[in-house]
Symmetry: C2
Subunit: 223 residues, 2 copies
């Protein structure tokens, strides 16, 4: 098992049996999550924003406008935390106290750097696009020079990272096992609904397979 060595800052202290430092598990959580919550601090006041992101190899990539102050701060070396969470279900116990959620959450902390090389920036943007809508990138109008100049891509290495995972049924007290209430889990997942065409779309343009497949792909996991 390829583990990321937990540091003083990433070792999970609360409910340590849920901690995961396995690199593959951490990668898989980042890969399945559509967004991450990205935090930076200013005078000990944290700020958290949702962002699209992509993992490639051992790094997380964010992107945005060159005018976005948060990305500018990251490139200036401001410490950052990127956390992605998948809510997998409600855990309904017999006791109020043992109610919980099943979830998978991965967090990386550290500092980022700007990706400056044009070819690498494009690779990252393509990877992000292919993560969210596999097969779409080659079909869309590619970024022009002005758009590339307005875009900042930031790399955050997955050096200090950990995950926390809860799975399985509720963990009630022995004394509660005969309490007369239903107990179990209610799985939760994201679902893509029917695509909605842009009102300005030319009627001659058909729905491509790469969009239709989004609903098909996710639908399977849900029942």
């Amino acid at each position: 098992m390829n583990e990321i060595e937990p540091t003083e800052r990433t070792r999970v202290r609360r409910v340590p049996q849920r901690a995961v430092y396995d690199r593959e598990t951490i990668h898989r959580i980042f890969d399945e999550a559509l967004i991450a919550h990205v935090a930076f601090s200013h005078d000990e006041q944290p700020f958290v924003l949702p962002m699209a992101f992509v993992r490639i190899d051992d790094a997380i990539y964010l992107h945005g406008s060159t005018r976005a102050r948060m990305l500018e701060g990251i490139c200036d070396g401001r410490p950052v935390c990127v956390t992605a969470t998948l809510v997998d279900g409600l855990v309904l116990a017999r006791s109020a106290f043992h109610h919980s959620m099943n979830y998978r959450s991965a967090a990386v902390i550290g500092t980022g750097t700007a990706v400056m090389e044009r070819g690498r920036m494009l690779e990252v943007l393509e990877a992000l696009s292919e993560k969210l809508t596999p097969g779409r990138w080659p079909e869309v109008r590619q970024p022009n020079e002005q758009e590339m100049k307005a875009t900042r891509v930031v790399e955050i290495p997955i050096d200090e990272a950990s995950a926390k995972v809860r799975t399985g049924p509720p963990a009630d007290e022995k004394a509660d096992m005969s309490f007369p209430v239903w107990a179990g889990t209610v799985p939760i997942a994201l679902r893509y609904a029917k695509p909605v065409s842009d009102p300005n779309l030319s009627p001659s343009v058909a729905l491509p397979d790469h969009v239709r497949q989004l609903s098909d792909r996710r639908g399977k996991n849900h029942d």
Copy 2:
């Protein structure tokens, strides 16, 4: 419209036309989100964790173990940020550059205080339970003294808060409108799947309506 006055710290700077300061919209986002991402800082390094939470009136409530260091830090006056995000869909534009997501995100910053009064703690725990599984609280085994002593409830007033919302079709450049690729949105929503009984559940206990209704309630919004 009941607006929360934006401060220097909560005014949305990037894409300000997506900013919302209306209290009702902010409340609705917090009420629909199952979890929030909660951040605190230590020596300018932010840490972000997913947590269940509930809004009551003009405050956010977190809860956890009295041994949880983050909640302890909040009670000691450490500044916190609580952000909740609903991903509503993929926005597929004709140009790579204008791809986006539809989402609603609300954030509150500030400091929290411990809720110490036992009756109020119970009200908060009941409100959290009723938010996630309406109708369940009266049916479960209520918290005992030991469990209440092990639980910390923290209140964070919604004084400094803002939301950011994107809705609608892609915003392509005029020059791209005839580019021959499908454009539009793919709505995304959470879906509850079939409940899974605890393997130790007595066969005489039936699935209650409050659990069955979870899948029914959400299923409607998705197609």
